[in-house]
Structures are given as structure tokens and as C-alpha cells.
């Protein structure tokens, strides 16, 4: 068995990498997949909080890399899904404690026993980013429909291409359909026009995210209505599994939507 390693990255900070990582890991686990989520944001860990596993941390990624524990000892099993694990980041160290080749080694150890390894990256383009994408088979770029976030996503896509990890696939997070309709927010088409990569999914702005992050319960795990972030994450998990699920119908103009479907199909 060979897991697929997916790295979630963004360039700009705060656009939703950790939220996407936690929810994709959860949604894939809900599909019965064996999933390990790795927090590579060393020194600023918070994937454990969002997944509600903070109080169970004993060992972390740096402990594994520096040989203080076996990999399995740093894998925290999720409360709700027996086949969902978290490997937390160290809170007290910095990015230099882990190297890109350490990350490749850790993932290679995980591959035989997992279906997916999902890696949360730190913001920025420095060492932490290189660590996170080194083991990746697939890269997901998260952006918000906002000029500065798109600019940084473009930069990151260039770097991913330079590392020969392909252009990556895009998740546009925090879309507010009403603002797009008024022309106050970049539309999906505007973002794709600049970035010109495959669209993996669109996640709406949803209050439930904030509430669920505080509770440590990823929204993907809770009940859902059709236009919710929860549904969006479940759909993305389906697409990762190779199923053809249409992009959430968030945009009012049908012209844009039919184009989106084409993009997804073109993958």
C-alpha cells in the first residue's frame, strides 16, 4: 500500500491552510481512508487545536526526527476515527530543527500503512515551505478571493513548479457569494484567470468554521447543508478520490460555473 502525500500550502498566512488540512483529513477519514495529518508549522503549531487533539500530545515531529521516539509514538489517534492520525509540530523549536530530507523519510515510513498523508505548511516561502513540499506527491494551494492572497499564491505556484512538483491544484477559501455578486470580491473566474491552475474546490465563508475550530471538531465531521463549508470539504475529498463532483453552486452567473466544471474535468 502506498499513501499519497498531499501538501497544503499558500504563500500568504491566515488564508486557511490549517482549516483545509484538518477538514480534508477528516473528510477522507469519513470515506474510510487511513489518513495521517502532519503539522509542519514548527514553532506555531495549531493543527492539533483545530483537530481537538492538543491535550494528548506527548511526542512531536521534532522528537521523531531527532530520534527521541519512534514515529508511531508521535502519531495521535483521533477520538472519532480510528484510522485518522495527527503528527503534531513542536511548539518550542524553529523550522531549522527539521530538514526537507527528514520530511521525506517520515513520509516514506508512513506510506505503507496509510492511504493519505496530508501536510499542513507554515506561511511563507522559506525553509518551512521547502520542508512541507519536499515529500509531496500532490500540492494544494489555498488562497482567498483577495488580491494580495492571489499574488502570494502565484508566487508559491512558481516555486512549486521550480521544485518540479507540478503547478498544484487550487482551493479558493472564504468566498462570499453576495460580495462577489456586488463586484466587491474577486470572483472564482478572476482568481483562475491569474493563477491558471486546476481548481480543486471552492469553500464558502462559513461561521461554523470558527465555532468548530474552537471546539476542536472539524466542520467536515458535523451535519451539513448543501452550501456549507462542511459540504465543500466533503466534495473536495471525493475529488481527491477521483470522483467527479461539481463545484458548489456559489456563483450566481451560470457562465462562470460551466467554465469551472470544465476546469475540474480537465484534471
Amino acid at each position: 500500500m502506498h499513501a499519497k502525500v498531499i501538501t497544503v500550502t499558500s504563500g500568504k498566512g491566515g488564508v486557511g491552510k490549517t482549516t483545509v488540512t484538518a477538514n480534508l483529513a477528516a473528510a477522507l477519514a469519513m470515506l474510510g481512508k487511513r489518513v495521517a495529518a502532519i503539522d509542519s508549522d514548527i514553532g506555531l503549531r495549531n493543527l492539533d487545536v483545530v483537530m481537538g487533539l492538543e491535550n494528548r500530545i506527548v511526542y512531536d515531529l521534532v522528537d521523531v526526527v531527532e530520534g527521541r521516539c519512534r514515529l508511531s509514538q508521535a502519531m495521535i489517534r483521533d477520538k472519532r476515527f480510528a484510522e485518522l492520525y495527527l503528527i503534531p509540530a513542536a511548539q518550542t523549536r524553529d523550522k531549522m530543527a527539521v530538514s526537507p530530507s527528514d520530511m521525506v523519510l517520515v513520509c516514506d515510513q508512513l506510506r505503507p500503512d496509510m492511504d493519505y498523508v496530508v501536510i499542513d505548511s507554515p506561511a511563507g516561502i522559506e525553509r518551512g515551505f521547502r520542508n512541507a513540499i519536499a515529500p509531496a506527491d500532490q500540492v494544494i494551494v489555498v488562497t482567498n478571493p483577495e488580491v494580495s492572497a492571489v499574488r502570494d499564491a502565484d508566487r508559491i505556484i512558481g516555486l512549486i513548479e521550480a521544485e518540479e512538483k507540478g503547478p498544484g491544484q487550487l482551493i479558493i477559501n472564504r468566498i462570499k457569494p453576495s460580495m462577489v455578486a456586488r463586484g466587491d470580491m474577486l470572483s472564482i473566474a478572476d482568481v483562475l484567470d491569474i493563477l491558471a491552475i486546476d481548481l480543486l474546490g471552492v469553500v464558502p465563508e462559513d461561521e461554523a468554521i470558527l465555532i468548530s475550530s474552537n471546539r476542536g471538531l472539524p466542520v467536515a465531521m458535523s451535519a451539513t447543508n448543501s452550501a456549507s463549508a462542511s459540504q465543500a470539504f466533503r466534495n473536495i475529498a471525493q475529488r481527491l478520490e477521483g470522483n467527479d463532483v461539481p463545484i458548489l453552486d456559489l456563483a450566481p452567473q451560470s457562465g462562470i460555473l460551466s467554465r469551472l466544471r470544465n476546469w475540474v474535468r480537465g484534471e
Binding site: R151, I157, G158, L159, I194, A196
Partner: protein, 242 residues
């Protein structure tokens, strides 16, 4: 009329429209024009509304003279489209007027017969050997954060995204959407130009001139060229340089 004997004008239907061929080498321009006018008056009903391919053979014609022919044709409701000429200077003058200087397809008429314009068309095909020796061709989109710098001309086959920059000593051609920053003629050459299929840059620089495009710029639906005119960077529909 004696004129019609010494200044023969051929008229032939070809795929691209109507071919008008001027044959006489030594006739002065005024006589050519006069002859053409007579010919058009005679065949006007037949030729009206056509696209014209004008084969001037080895006549050395200036831009103003070609413009006169163009006017004459449009007065007769014909559109001058292409000028086939042997002298490079004539072709250059034609291009300056935005005219094509070679045929896109084969050199045959509607019946598939070879036309006697081979030499002129062939001459038009030869690329003008410009200072392209020191040109850089980049076959990808330049994304945010990247900088391409080159001592000569730069051609990008792809987009130049916002946050990316191109700096060239010579001209810059973007076969794609230019939305970042381009500096052409970077070591002071104000005759450098910047061309793009879609010219919506964050900023343009030519030599020591800087242009910031208007806030709400609607992308033009045609390629554009930016150059320095009267100390200012201006953009206009892209045509081959004079």
C-alpha cells in the same frame, strides 16, 4: 490609349481577393496612378467590395505613394489588404501602413494555376534580419516574484503576472497577457518598445520613462504596443514597426 500599352495592369481573382499587378518598371508614379484610376473606373462594378492584393513588382514606392493608392482604392470601394513588392523598402512602407506584405496561403489563383508573383511573395516571406541575435525566448508564464533580466531583447511565450518583472536592454514582446512590470530599453534606449497580446501592466518603463496605467483599465481586445512618443509612454494597437 497609348498609356494602356506601356503601363499594363493585370487583374486576377485569387483566393485572398483580387490581385492587381503593376508591370511597368520605368513608369513614373503619376502615370501608374493615372493608369490604375482608369482601370478601376472601367472595372469598378466588378471589383467593388473586394479585398485587393497589389503586386507592385520592383517598383520602389514610398509610404505616401502607397497611401495614395490606398485612398484611390477606397474611393472605389475596395480595400487594400496586401502589397507584394520586391524592394524591401516598399514592403517596409506597406507594413508601416498596416498592410500585409505576403499572402497567407499558396501562390495560386482560384483555378489552382500558379501566379506570376512568386518572386515578390517569396521576398516578403524572408524575415527581415533584425538585431535578433541577442534575444531571449522564455517559454513559460512568469509568475509573481520572478524577475527576468537580459542584455538584449526578450520574448515571453506566456503571461507576465502581477508581481513579476521583465528587464531588458532591448525590446520586450509578451505573447500573452502582460500584467506585471516591464522595463524595456533599460540602459537608456528610448526607442525600445513593449508589445503584448493583452497590455494591462502594473507599470511600464522604457529607458527612463515610467508609465502607470489608469486605475480601471479595460483590457483592449487586440494586441498593443507601447513606445515613447514626445517624452511619454503611449500604447496603441500593435502594428509592425516603421
Amino acid at each position: 490609349m497609348t498609356g494602356s500599352k506601356s503601363t499594363e495592369i493585370r487583374v486576377k481573382g485569387i483566393r485572398e481577393g483580387i490581385l492587381l499587378g503593376l508591370n511597368n518598371h520605368s513608369a513614373p508614379f503619376a502615370e501608374l496612378l493615372q493608369r490604375l484610376q482608369e482601370e478601376l473606373a472601367e472595372k469598378r462594378t466588378f471589383l467593388k467590395g473586394s479585398r485587393i492584393v497589389l503586386d507592385v513588382g520592383d517598383h520602389l514606392l514610398q509610404r505616401t505613394q502607397l497611401a495614395q493608392i490606398q485612398t484611390l482604392l477606397s474611393e472605389n470601394e475596395m480595400e487594400l489588404w496586401t502589397v507584394l513588392a520586391e524592394p524591401a523598402a516598399t514592403r517596409e512602407a506597406a507594413r508601416a501602413l498596416g498592410l500585409a506584405t505576403r499572402l497567407a496561403g499558396s501562390n495560386t489563383d482560384l483555378d489552382g494555376n500558379d501566379l506570376a508573383i512568386g518572386s515578390a511573395a517569396q521576398a516578403g516571406l524572408e524575415a527581415e534580419a533584425s538585431s535578433g541575435a541577442n534575444a531571449l525566448l522564455v517559454l513559460e508564464t512568469i509568475r509573481s516574484g520572478r524577475s527576468v533580466q537580459h542584455e538584449g531583447h526578450v520574448t515571453i511565450l506566456g503571461d507576465v503576472n502581477p508581481g513579476a518583472q521583465i528587464i531588458a536592454r532591448g525590446h520586450v514582446v509578451v505573447w500573452g497577457r502582460l500584467r506585471g512590470m516591464v522595463h524595456a530599453g533599460a540602459s537608456g534606449d528610448a526607442s525600445a518598445v513593449i508589445c503584448a497580446l493583452q497590455l494591462t501592466p502594473t507599470q511600464l518603463r522604457i529607458a527612463n520613462h515610467i508609465a502607470i496605467p489608469p486605475e480601471e483599465q479595460q483590457p483592449a481586445l487586440f494586441p498593443e504596443m507601447a513606445s515613447v512618443r514626445d517624452g511619454q509612454i503611449v500604447a496603441e494597437p500593435w502594428r509592425v514597426r516603421e
